[in-house]
């Protein structure tokens, strides 16, 4: 290691202090609300009501979690949030897998197979990234009605798969353009067709970008609220929509402990995905070359 170009020690340490202050401030901004919710999920409703929303549990209770999961009443149904968690899983898992696979095939064909109008198609597909959700509400309402899929899990799967294609195609296309053209030429001379090249050559190079798209799609679809609350009601709702119904049903006595527990449980899947996949996510976003 050479010292050339490194500023004097004092400057560097002050700079470092400044960086840490900013980083910790940002981290606190994100973590404090979560910490408050997490702590409240272990406090009783009485304790929260008598003291403050922010505080350390005097008695650690776990009953909030069992109530939130299995018995608490949401919109006249007293089975907690677990049916809605299941709904969310039924929407998120298929939609994530489908949109990632279709996006990979679409990105592959746009980046590695030149065809007439490919740039236009790519432009149109990625425009979906910038279209606001609410702008698409009415078109989707019409589509769901005409297909008879209103208030169904399958309807949400379809919407999230198609909407997700903009992102997954963009991600995969940008990753695949780094694949050398000569590889494609060699494979064509070897006699491989569109799908054989995809399965045997392109897909084995794809884990970094597939992990990125899966994490992205999973968190996005799991946390999605607007479509869930608009297109489904009652027992068909995903957990994000159910959480609203839960807070609406506590008009008489505020049950902040149970609400907090429900929020933590609902956030858990995406947190776990991030904890296990986060390092791949960062690595995949910065990975470009496939050499």
């Amino acid at each position: 290691m050479s010292n050339a170009g490194v500023p004097p020690m004092r400057d560097r340490s002050w700079g470092r202090v400044a960086v840490y202050v900013v980083v910790w401030a940002l981290a606190a901004g994100y973590l404090v609300p979560f910490g408050v919710v997490l702590l409240n999920s272990f406090r009783t409703a009485e304790e929260i009501a008598q003291t403050s929303m922010i505080g350390w549990p005097t008695n650690w209770v776990f009953g909030n979690y069992t109530a939130a999961w299995a018995t608490y009443c949401i919109a006249q149904t007293c089975s907690g949030i677990h049916p809605y968690m299941w709904n969310s899983a039924l929407v998120t898992v298929p939609a994530t897998i489908l949109s990632t696979l279709l996006g990979a095939v679409a990105g592959y064909s746009i980046s590695l197979w030149r065809f007439r109008g490919d740039a236009w198609i790519f432009g149109l597909v990625t425009m979906g990234v910038f279209l606001p959700e609410q702008m698409r509400l009415i078109p989707w309402t019409i589509v769901l009605r005409d297909l008879g899929m209103t208030n169904t899990i399958a309807g949400l799967v379809m919407i999230h798969t198609i909407q997700g294609l903009s992102f997954t195609t963009l991600f995969c296309r940008n990753y695949y353009v780094a694949i050398p053209v000569d590889l494609m030429k060699a494979a064509r001379i070897d006699g491989a067709g569109f799908f054989r090249i995809f399965w045997r050559i392109v897909l084995p190079l794809s884990p970094p970008i597939l992990i990125v798209t899966v994490i992205w799609q999973f968190t996005h679809i799991w946390n999605e609220f607007l479509y869930g609350v608009t297109f489904t009601t009652g027992q068909q709702q995903p957990v994000t929509a159910a959480l609203i119904a839960l807070s609406a049903s506590v008009a008489d006595v505020p049950q902040h402990g149970i609400q907090s527990a429900a929020v933590v449980v609902a956030a858990l899947p995406t947190l776990l995905v991030y904890l296990f996949g986060g390092r791949y996510f960062v690595r995949g976003l910065t990975a470009g070359a496939v050499k």
Binding site: P180, D182, L183, K185, A186, A187, R188, I189, D190, G191, A192, R196, R200, I201, P204, L205, V290, K291
Partner: protein
């Protein structure tokens, strides 16, 4: 039999004419090198032969069969790329057998073919490795193995040695030449390196601006270049070309102060461009053939010893020229020195058309 016949081939990208009517007839068993500077269209030509790009006009026949509308995999060709283009996620063995896998060749036949090729190229110990675990030279061999295993009518090489270091390049050059001598399959080889062209080819096609400038054996290309472009492109250092004037049996160089005898019957008196290879300008003790050498005096401007010889830049009749003298000859910068000229290999070009006279 004609291995490859190219007729009036054109290729246009937008408004750019990359190939402007290329014609080539290549006999079976030949080693053809397409050589030219970057952007001359040689790689485009190879891609069209391979079927990876469509021509804008003209025809390609491989082994007597029109292949304009035949898919790359059905043209009975194999190609080696500059980047090697090995499939990163496959082992060396899978790389070599991928083509057979696509053509549904039975496993036993595949194994036999891999065995044969890996023995030929001495890559048996590498068969289970991934490309990322190979050195540049090893990747090069595997890329050749993938082509060889096909046993095609035509091998296409697209600058296969350009990514290797200088020493390995010389080794692989010799190896490819030996390989060709052994298997005898027709090769079309693209390079920008004129040394590769001279050393390996049975015939060279020199390309420039989308046209074949000359298609001939290496000796003709070197000694009788068809035009000034070929004269200046082939050879390192390149051929000296300088304005001159023929009159009777002499050619007067540059400002007319130096004359060389030349066999130029029927030319009359006219302006020409004289081409003279650097090795035709040497130290005064050198003998070219039986005749007594012609000795001239020139001004020494620069000397570059390479060890095996010394490249000398000199000024003669007001023109700058390059000569090659023996390494033990001591020349003083800025001095007048004597040089022997080989007048047997002078080339004359028309200054307007730039063609060989």
């Amino acid at each position: 039999m004609s291995a490859l016949m190219i007729r009036d081939l054109h290729k246009r990208f937008g408004s750019v004419d990359v190939l402007k009517g290329v014609n080539l007839d290549i006999e079976s068993g030949e080693f053809i090198v397409l050589v030219g500077p970057s952007g001359c269209g040689k790689s485009t030509l190879l891609n069209i032969v391979a079927g990876l790009e469509k021509p804008s006009g003209g025809t390609v026949e491989i082994g007597g069969r029109m292949v304009n509308d035949v898919a790359p995999s059905d043209r009975d060709i194999a190609m080696v790329f500059q980047s090697y283009a090995l499939y990163p996620s496959m082992t060396v063995r899978q790389n070599i057998t991928f083509g057979m896998e696509c053509r549904n060749v039975p496993r036993a036949a595949r194994d036999k073919a891999v065995e044969h090729v890996s023995k030929l190229l001495q890559i048996e110990p590498l068969l289970n490795r991934k490309p990322s675990q190979l050195s540049g030279g090893q990747r090069q061999r595997v890329a050749m193995g993938r082509a060889l295993v096909r046993d095609p009518l035509l091998f296409l090489f697209d600058e296969p040695l350009s990514n290797l270091d200088a020493k390995l390049r010389v080794e692989m050059r010799a190896e490819i030449k030996q390989l060709h001598a052994r298997i005898g399959t027709t090769i079309v080889y693209v390079t920008h390196d004129q040394v590769e062209a001279m050393t390996m080819a049975t015939r060279i096609a020199v390309m420039h601006q989308g046209e074949v400038q000359q298609f001939a054996d290496p000796e003709t290309i070197y000694n009788r270049p068809a035009n000034l472009f070929v004269a200046r492109f082939m050879g390192a250092p390149p051929m000296n070309t300088l304005p001159a004037r023929v009159d009777g049996g002499r050619v007067m160089l540059g400002d007319g102060s130096v004359g060389l005898p030349i066999d130029a019957v029927g030319l009359g008196a006219r302006d020409v461009v004289l081409g003279i290879r650097p090795e035709c300008i040497a130290e005064p003790g050198r003998r070219f053939g039986d005749a007594a050498p012609l000795i001239i005096k020139a001004h020494v401007e620069m000397i570059e010893p390479t060890g095996a010889e010394t490249i000398v830049t000199l000024r003669l009749a007001g023109e700058k020229m390059i000569g090659r003298v023996a390494p033990d000859v001591r020349l003083a910068l800025g001095s007048e020195a004597e040089f022997a000229i080989d007048v047997r290999k002078l080339c004359l070009f028309d200054p307007k058309t730039e063609r060989l006279i």
